[in-house]
Symmetry: C2
Subunit: 117 residues, 2 copies
Amino acid sequence: MTAPLDSIFAALADPTRRTILAMLLEDDMAVTDVAEPFEMSLAAISKHLSVLERAGLIAQEKRGRLKWCKLEPAALKAPSVWMQGFGQFDPVNLDDFERFLAAEIKFQSSDAEQEGS
Amino acid sequence: MTAPLDSIFAALADPTRRTILAMLLEDDMAVTDVAEPFEMSLAAISKHLSVLERAGLIAQEKRGRLKWCKLEPAALKAPSVWMQGFGQFDPVNLDDFERFLAAEIKFQSSDAEQEGS
DNA sequence: ATGTTATTCAACCTTTTGGTTGAGGGTATG
DNA sequence: CATACCCTCAACCAAAAGGTTGAATAACAT
């Protein structure tokens, strides 16, 4: 059921995909809206999304003509457990996380909007 | 100084490399001893080790004609922080980790020995 | 000096990855 | 109906990843 560590870590290794995950942290989004801030084709983003889905990191649900993407944070539990076995870190510092997001997300709260319902 | 998340996650995406990390969790090892349990060439393992080193996950130090590899667990802090930002998990359960290791390590405490000192 | 062990380098090969474009299938909407 | 929008598929491409082999380098042993 849970995807193997291989595909999860591989999915996380791409900066575009990590940025997508960060975007989805704020809200569910449709494919076109996910693609908007990036400078690559929609088809490329579509591929990235299916990599993320195969890794179990997101779920996609089609409603009408939109396909909604939502984060599946539970998928991160397995790799998180794996990693923490190697070094016991302090209780996670969320400020560190914010710094990561700031550094990685290029589009600064751009004009990507999504339609209600 | 700390390697970018790209290279860390990419390094972790390969099962051979994760197994190597698990081996080094028990003890520092020389390259040939690391390679012993695997069915691939020494050169291939050497490449894997340099991927791990570029990712900051291990350090290699040459002493005499042996090159010792040791874990650099601090390198996992960055990706760990990143991941935990997505889902707050329970304090890590070390039993889960043991299960991962058991599942991943194929060679069951095989005849890989390393020289003292 | 010669040989043996430890490790990497260089060249090569195949498969995977990340991107492109153009066509096409659904699903609204005028 | 016709048309526009949302998304994926298929074919293609270049570059990177993961492996091989054989030669090269470095250090110890005889």
